[in-house]
C-alpha cells in the first residue's frame, strides 16, 4: 500500500474511541475482606477464606473503597448515586476465586461526569459514562508454551491480587485520536494522583486501560463495529496500539470487508494487535444482584464532606504553577509524575519555586529514570528539598553541587542536605580571596588563552573558567569566577 492511498483513506474515516480504565485502589485492605494490599511477597500470602472463595465465606464492603469511588466521582463531576448495587458477573476462570466477580453493573455508584483535556492547544471535554467499583482477580502464571494459558504445561495462580478494590472509569466514545486517548488517560491519572487514591502505575498494572476503537466515515453519526484492545501498559503503548488499530480497521474497511466485533491483544514488541481467545468469548455473564451484599447508600452529609475536602485538581494546579512562572512543559512533568506534592511541601517551607521545580523535573526525574524507579517513589521530602533550595539560593551550593547533594539524599544518605554538603566538603567557594589566588594561577598557566580574551575573544574565557572549576573540584562559585577573571584580564 502506498503512502498516498493511506493518506486518502485517513481522510475518509474518523476514529471513535472510548476508554475503560481500571484503577487499583491504594486502600489498606481488600474490597471485601481484611487482607492487606501490597506488592511482592510470597504468592498467596495475602489471602483469607473470603478472597480465596472458600465455601461459606462472605464479602463485606470496604468503606474506604467506597469513599475513594465517591471522591473520584466528585472530582470528575459525576452524580453520586444515592443507592448503588453490587452484581455478580459469572464466568469460569482459574484466577477468579468464586468463578464470579463482584462488580457494579446497571446501578453504579457514579454516573455522568466529564474530564477536560488539551491536545495541541485545543481543549475538549470528554464525557465520563460511569465509575463503578469491583474486585480484582488473581494472577495466573502459565508455565511452558507461549506463556498464554493455551499450550502451557501447567498454570500457577497467585491470589494476592484477588479482591483488591478496583474502580472502573468508563468514558463516552468521545475521543477521536490516539493523542486524545493519551491525553485523557494522562489527565485521569493526574486526577487519581491528586486524590491520592491509587499509585496509578500503568507499567505495574495498578492502572490499566482497555480501548474500544471503531471507525466511521467522516460526517456519519452511526458508530462502526467496535473492537476492544487490551494489554497496553504505558501511555506510549496506548497511543501505538490505537494508531495500529485505526490503520488495521482502515485497511479492512477499504478492502470492503466488515470489521469483526472482537477483543484484540496488543503485542508491544511486535507492534500489532491480534484476536484474543479467552473468557471474552463467553458473552453471557448472567449478571444478577449479589444477594450477599446490601445496596451501597452513602449518606448525603458524607458526600458533602468529601466534596468539601477534595484536593486541588490538576487543571487548577497547572494554572497555579504557571502563575509562579514555571514553564508549561515543566508544570506538565510535575503534575503527571505527582511530584507536585513534594514541590508544594517545599514551597510551603519557603523554597524558591523555579529552583525547587528544576531540581525535581531535571535532577530527580533523571535520577529516577537512571535507577528505574517511579519519581513519585523517590525518598525526598518537601522539607529536604526546601533546605537544598535554600543552600543554592544563599550561594552555599552551586546548582551542580546541589545535584550531587540531591543524589546523596535520594541514595539514602542520612542527615539532610546541609549536613551532607558539609560532610562531603561540597560547600561552594564564594571566598573572593581564595578564588583570586586560583584565578591568578590559571591565568599564569595559560597565557595564550588569557591573551585571546584580552584581544576581545569573549568565548575564550570558557577555557579559563573550566580550569578554575577543575582546580576547585567544581566547588567554585561560577558567577564569582567569571567576575574575577573579567577583572583580572580587563583591569
Amino acid at each position: 500500500m502506498s503512502t498516498t492511498t493511506s493518506v486518502e483513506q485517513a481522510t475518509r474515516y474518523e476514529a471513535v474511541i472510548g476508554l475503560e480504565v481500571h484503577v487499583e485502589l491504594a486502600t489498606r485492605t481488600k474490597m471485601f475482606c481484611g487482607c492487606a494490599i501490597g506488592f511482592g511477597g510470597e504468592p498467596n500470602s495475602r489471602t483469607c477464606p473470603v478472597c480465596l472463595g472458600m465455601p461459606g465465606s462472605l464479602p463485606v464492603v470496604n468503606g474506604a473503597a467506597v469513599e475513594s469511588a465517591i471522591r473520584l466521582g466528585l472530582a470528575l463531576g459525576c452524580e453520586i448515586a444515592p443507592t448503588s448495587q453490587f452484581h455478580r458477573k459469572n464466568y469460569f476462570y482459574p484466577d477468579m476465586p468464586k468463578d464470579y466477580q463482584i462488580s457494579q453493573y446497571d446501578v453504579p455508584i457514579c454516573l455522568r461526569g466529564e474530564l477536560r483535556i488539551t491536545v495541541d492547544g485545543r481543549e475538549r471535554t470528554i464525557g465520563i459514562t460511569r465509575v463503578h467499583m469491583e474486585e480484582d482477580t488473581g494472577k495466573s502464571l502459565h508455565v511452558g508454551g507461549s506463556g498464554r494459558i493455551a499450550g502451557s504445561d501447567h498454570s500457577l495462580v497467585d491470589y494476592n491480587r484477588a479482591g483488591i478494590p478496583l474502580l472502573e472509569v468508563v468514558s463516552e466514545p468521545d475521543l477521536r485520536s490516539a493523542e486524545e486517548a493519551r491525553a485523557y488517560l494522562a489527565e485521569l491519572r493526574a486526577v487519581v494522583l491528586a486524590l491520592g487514591i491509587s499509585d496509578a502505575k500503568l507499567e505495574e498494572g495498578s492502572m490499566r486501560c482497555d480501548a474500544n476503537v471503531s471507525l466511521r466515515p467522516v460526517g456519519h453519526t452511526v458508530f462502526g463495529t467496535r473492537v476492544e484492545v487490551k494489554n497496553m501498559n504505558s501511555l506510549r503503548s496506548l497511543g501505538r496500539a490505537i494508531d495500529h488499530e485505526i490503520e488495521r480497521q482502515t485497511r479492512v474497511l477499504t478492502a470492503g470487508d466488515p470489521v469483526v466485533q472482537e477483543t484484540r491483544h496488543w503485542d508491544e514488541d511486535a507492534g500489532v494487535t491480534s484476536p484474543l481467545r479467552s473468557k471474552e468469548s463467553v458473552d453471557d455473564y448472567r449478571y444478577f444482584p449479589d444477594p450477599d451484599l446490601l445496596p451501597v447508600e452513602p449518606d448525603a452529609d458524607w458526600i458533602d464532606r468529601l466534596r468539601a475536602e477534595l484536593p486541588e485538581l490538576p487543571a487548577v494546579t497547572r494554572a497555579r504553577l504557571a502563575g509562579l512562572g514555571l514553564p508549561a512543559p515543566q508544570v506538565a512533568v510535575l503534575v503527571d509524575t505527582g511530584l507536585v506534592r513534594v514541590l508544594d511541601a517545599a514551597l510551603a517551607a519557603g523554597a524558591a519555586p523555579a529552583l525547587a521545580a528544576n531540581l525535581l523535573t531535571n535532577d530527580l526525574v533523571g535520577w529516577a529514570a537512571a535507577n528505574g524507579t517511579d519519581p513519585a517513589d523517590a525518598p525526598l521530602t518537601g522539607a529536604a528539598l526546601a533546605e537544598l533550595v535554600g543552600l543554592v539560593a544563599d550561594g552555599t551550593l552551586s546548582t551542580k553541587l546541589a545535584r550531587q547533594v540531591l543524589e546523596a539524599v535520594l541514595g539514602g544518605e542520612p542527615g539532610g542536605p546541609r549536613a551532607i554538603a558539609e560532610a562531603r566538603g561540597l560547600v561552594q567557594i564564594s571566598d573572593t580571596a581564595e578564588l583570586e589566588a586560583v584565578v591568578a594561577r590559571v591565568v599564569a598557566a595559560d597565557p595564550a588563552a588569557a591573551q585571546r580574551v584580552r584581544d576581545g575573544n569573549a568565548k575564550a574565557i570558557g577555557a579559563l573558567v573550566g580550569a578554575v572549576m577543575r582546580e576547585t573540584r567544581g566547588r567554585a562559585n561560577p558567577r564569582l569566577v567569571n567576575e574575577l577573571l573579567e577583572r583580572h584580564l580587563h583591569p
Binding site: 477464606p49 480465596l52 472463595g53 472458600m54 465455601p55 461459606g56 465465606s57 462472605l58 464479602p59 463485606v60 464492603v61 455478580r88 459469572n90 469460569f92 482459574p94 476465586p97 468464586k98 468463578d99 464470579y100 494459558i149 493455551a150 498454570s155 495462580v157 458473552d283 453471557d284 448472567r286 449478571y287 444478577f288 444477594p291 450477599d292 451484599l293 446490601l294
Partner: protein
C-alpha cells in the same frame, strides 16, 4: 432408656448444675448412642468423638474450678455438614468436597463453641442442601428413627435423624425453603427457621444466599429456644446479618396464648395434596390453641400458591452462581484433564449429583440474557407479592398456623424418580422463606401409621419470641412423648 439421652438441653444443664451428671458423662452417653445406632440411622458423616470428650472434660474442669460457663455448657450438639468446621471434614453431602477440611469455623460453630456446647460431629444432608428427603446425599441416605424404611426429611436429614434417634439433644441445620421445618415435621421434632439475617450465614456453604438461614432442632421448644439464642445475633462478617443483639427467647416462653391472635391459613388447609392424617392433627392442634385462649382468625395468603414456582427460579439461580467455585482449582475434588477449562468441566461432572446439576442448569438458564426478566425478575416480583400477603395477614393476627408439610415421612425411594413431587414437600414452608420471616415446626401427634405430624407456626420478621411462646403453650398442652415409637422404629424390638 438412658436418662441422659432423653433429657432436653435445659434438663442437661440442670443435671450438671446439680452435680448429678458431668459433661463427660453426657458426651460419652451420646457418643455411645451414636456408635450403637448410627449403622441404621446414618445421621452422621463425621463424628468428632475425641474433640467432644475434650470439650466436655474442659467444661467439667471449669465447673469444678468455679469458672463461668457458657449457656450451652456440656450440652451435645450435632452440626449439619454445611457449616465450616476448622480442620474437620466438611462436605455439604457432596462428592466434590470429599475430604475437604475448612481452615475456619462458621460463625454458628464458633458461637456453639463459645457457649461451651459439645459438638459431636457433622450430620448427613442432601447435597448442598438441595432435597427434601436426605436421599441426595452423596454418602447415602439417613433414615427416620420413627420408621427406618422412611426418610427423615431434608435437606437437614442427619440433623433431624440424630435428634430423633436420641444421638443428640440439639442439632443445627439450615433452611432455605423448608430444610429445617420439613425434616422436623417428618421426624417429630421442634425445628426453627429464624428470621433471615437473625443467624449469621458466615461459614455456611451457600445454596441460595437470599434464603439460607441456620436454625436449631430439638425435641422440645425450650431446647430450640436456648440453642437459637446462642447462635443468633449480629455478625459483622455477614453483611445481611441484622445489626442487633440476639433476642431473649426464654424469658416469655411460658406466658401462654391467652389473647394471642392466631391466623389459620385457609389456602394451606385446602391444598389438594394435604394428607388426611396430617390435616386432622393440624386441625386438632388449632382447636387446642383456641381452647388455650388464642383468638382464631381466618386469613388468606392469595399469592402463596405462586411461592413454590418462584422459589424454584430464585433458589436455582443463586445456586448456579454460588456453586461455581467448586471448580477443582483450589480445594475439593479435581479430575485431571488436558486444559484448565476441561478440568473444571469434568470435575463438576464427576463431583455433583443429579439434583445439584439439575438446579445449576435451571438457574443458569433463568439468569441467561434474554430470559432474566421473564424468570428471575418475575420471580422476585412474586416474592414481593407473597411478602405483602404476609404483611396484610399480620395486620390481623400475631402468628399464622398451618401444616408444615403435606404428608408424613415417606418411604425411601418413593419420590426420587419424580423431582416435582419431592419439591411439593416444601409447598407450605417456602412462602415464609420468601418473606424472610420466621417459622417453626412443632410435633402435634401422629397420623394413622404412627408417624409424626408437624404444625407450622409462622410469625412476622423478628417475631421469634411470640412464635416460640405459642409453640410452648401447645407443646405443654399436648404433652407428647418425643421418643420414637412405631412398628419399624429404632426403639422397636428387633425381630
Amino acid at each position: 432408656m438412658h436418662a441422659l439421652l432423653t433429657a432436653s438441653a435445659p434438663e442437661l444443664l440442670a443435671l450438671q448444675e446439680a452435680g448429678d451428671a458431668s459433661a463427660v458423662d453426657i458426651a460419652r452417653a451420646h457418643l455411645d448412642r451414636i456408635a450403637a445406632t448410627d449403622d441404621r440411622v446414618h445421621a452422621f458423616l463425621h463424628v468428632t468423638a475425641d474433640a467432644a470428650l475434650a470439650a466436655a472434660a474442659d467444661v467439667d474442669r471449669r465447673r469444678a474450678a468455679g469458672e463461668p460457663l457458657g449457656p450451652l455448657a456440656g450440652v451435645p450438639v450435632a452440626v449439619k455438614d454445611l457449616f465450616a468446621t476448622c480442620g474437620v471434614p466438611t462436605t455439604a453431602g457432596s462428592r466434590i468436597l470429599e475430604g475437604h477440611r475448612p481452615v475456619y469455623d462458621a460463625t454458628v460453630v464458633a458461637r456453639l463453641h463459645a457457649a461451651d456446647a459439645v459438638v459431636l460431629g457433622k450430620t448427613n444432608m442432601d447435597e448442598f442442601a438441595m432435597g427434601s428427603s436426605g436421599e441426595n446425599s452423596a454418602y447415602g441416605p439417613s433414615r427416620n428413627p420413627w420408621d427406618l424404611d422412611r426418610v427423615p426429611g431434608g435437606s437437614s436429614a442427619g440433623s433431624a435423624a440424630a435428634v430423633a434417634a436420641l444421638q443428640a439433644p440439639l442439632a443445627v441445620g439450615t433452611d432455605t425453603g423448608g430444610s429445617i421445618r420439613q425434616p422436623a415435621s417428618l421426624s417429630g421434632l421442634v425445628g426453627v427457621k429464624p428470621t433471615y439475617g437473625l443467624v449469621s450465614r458466615y461459614g455456611m456453604f451457600a445454596f441460595a444466599s437470599s434464603l439460607d438461614q441456620a436454625g436449631p432442632f430439638a425435641r422440645d421448644v425450650a431446647g430450640a429456644a436456648l440453642a437459637l439464642e446462642v447462635i443468633a445475633g449480629h455478625d459483622p462478617l455477614d453483611s445481611t446479618s441484622i445489626p442487633q443483639a440476639a433476642p431473649d427467647l426464654l424469658a416469655g416462653l411460658e406466658r401462654g396464648v391467652e389473647g394471642l391472635r392466631v391466623g389459620v391459613v385457609a389456602e394451606f388447609l385446602a391444598t389438594d395434596g394435604l394428607a388426611p392424617g396430617v390435616k386432622a392433627r393440624v386441625e386438632d392442634a388449632i382447636q387446642r390453641l383456641g381452647k388455650l385462649g388464642a383468638e382464631l382468625v381466618d386469613v388468606s395468603l392469595p399469592h402463596a400458591q405462586y411461592a413454590l414456582p418462584a422459589y424454584y427460579v430464585i433458589a436455582p439461580s443463586e445456586c448456579s452462581s454460588n456453586l461455581s467455585r467448586y471448580d477443582g482449582v483450589r480445594y475439593g475434588l479435581r479430575v485431571p484433564a488436558e486444559t484448565a477449562e476441561q478440568m473444571m468441566a469434568v470435575t463438576r461432572e464427576a463431583g455433583f449429583g443429579r439434583e445439584v446439576k439439575r438446579r445449576i442448569m435451571i438457574g443458569t438458564y433463568a439468569l441467561s440474557a434474554g430470559y432474566y426478566d421473564a424468570y428471575y425478575v418475575s420471580a422476585q416480583r412474586v416474592r414481593t407479592l407473597v411478602t405483602r400477603d404476609f404483611a396484610d395477614a399480620y395486620r390481623r393476627c400475631d402468628v399464622l398456623v398451618g401444616p408444615t408439610a403435606p404428608e408424613t415421612a415417606f418411604r425411601l425411594g418413593a419420590k426420587t424418580a419424580d423431582p416435582l413431587s419431592m419439591y411439593l414437600n416444601d409447598v407450605f414452608s417456602i412462602p415464609s422463606s420468601l418473606a424472610g420471616a420466621p417459622a417453626l415446626s412443632l410435633p402435634v401427634g401422629a397420623d394413622e401409621r404412627g408417624l409424626p405430624v408437624g404444625l407450622q407456626i409462622m410469625a412476622p420478621v423478628l417475631g421469634e419470641a411470640t412464635m416460640l411462646r405459642a409453640a410452648r403453650a401447645l407443646e405443654a398442652d399436648l404433652a407428647l412423648d418425643p421418643v420414637p415409637s412405631g412398628a419399624n422404629a429404632l426403639e422397636a424390638p428387633r425381630p
